[in-house]
Symmetry: C2
Subunit: 201 residues, 2 copies
């Protein structure tokens, strides 16, 4: 039975996801995908557009997964009745660390993709997914002094998100990889504890 | 008059620096360098090793320049008699922002290089340069409560460095590039002010 167009598109995205997870964006070759999917290179371009568009679809899935990891952590914290901001932010940071560790190659490819993309060619639905990630942190900070100013809250959420991101993605530099996760957790710990103390001061 | 070996090596590094500044690591092609330097591809490998080794030399220069920007900022702050930690850390962060803005392509290439490099093949002199950057921040934090514990001080310096780095390199995502520098400065401002307040609380 022949697959319909949507099935073939799903299959192409699935193959692309797997290639990026294994080899980063260098692995995303139309010819490789065509061969694995048993279709022509031209069909791929018809189905999903160019390789950048396909990479963006894979990235959006990855951002969704990270979003689910974030909201899942929040749900668990709420269920436990955890109200301490430091604990909540630490667990969210550890969720991010776990996500990056599990998806290192694909995540690095996403970062490189975002860095080289221009705003003009980036569709709104991609931005929306990024904003949703920052919103998870904004919701946590809302009960602090920052909550009285929506703009300041958004900036602070973005700052804290990027700060933890910087620690997670930068930590390996000059570090013994065996001690990596421990080093990252210690850095996150100092940053979050001091930041929250500063918010309360 | 024929150039001696050191002169040719300097010229090769100069060309590599310029290629990376313009096109990132994709621009670092032995054939392009050979053509521009008027030597054979084989000579390049004899002089500097492979393209990774050459990229590492260019990166070390870049790290040195960033180090000079950092220590230069510290010297200027000292000359002005500036003792406020928040002001000092903010100006150091702005120096980093300025450096990344001026060297965006080469800096992104360095980050990608570091990410893909393994610790085993990285020479000590490369790590030393990275540590020196963290030390600039450690020196600033020494007069706080962190100063009583050298290990904690090192972790905090690294955390704060990486946090600002994360803000600077991540901020463009989902942002209008025209408002970029202003957005980054606002994020740095909230992070540093809150962190220092937390240290003093």
């Amino acid at each position: 039975m022949a697959l319909d167009k949507d099935d073939v598109k799903s299959r192409v995205i699935e193959i692309a996801t797997s290639l990026i997870a294994k080899h980063g964006s260098a692995g995303l070759q139309a010819r490789t995908i065509a061969k694995e999917a048993g279709i022509s290179v031209g069909s791929i371009y018809n189905l999903v557009g160019d390789m950048d568009a396909l990479h963006r679809i894979v990235n959006a899935q990855l951002l969704d997964e990270l979003g689910v990891a974030g909201t899942g952590t929040v749900a668990e914290l709420d269920k436990r009745g955890e109200t301490d901001l430091t604990t909540r932010l630490l667990e969210l940071s550890h969720a991010y660390l776990g996500f990056v560790t599990e998806n290192r190659t694909a995540w690095n490819a996403l970062l490189a993709f975002n860095r080289s993309a221009t705003v003009d060619e980036t569709p709104d639905w991609y931005f929306v997914r990024l904003e949703m990630l920052f919103d998870v942190i904004a919701d946590e900070l809302r009960a602090t002094e920052l909550g009285s100013d929506e703009q300041k809250l958004a900036i602070a959420a973005r700052a804290l998100w990027s700060a933890v991101h910087g620690i997670v993605t930068n930590a390996y530099v000059g570090e013994d990889k065996r001690q990596l996760v421990e080093t990252i957790r210690m850095q996150i710990d100092i940053l979050i504890r001091t930041f929250v103390r500063g918010l309360r001061a």
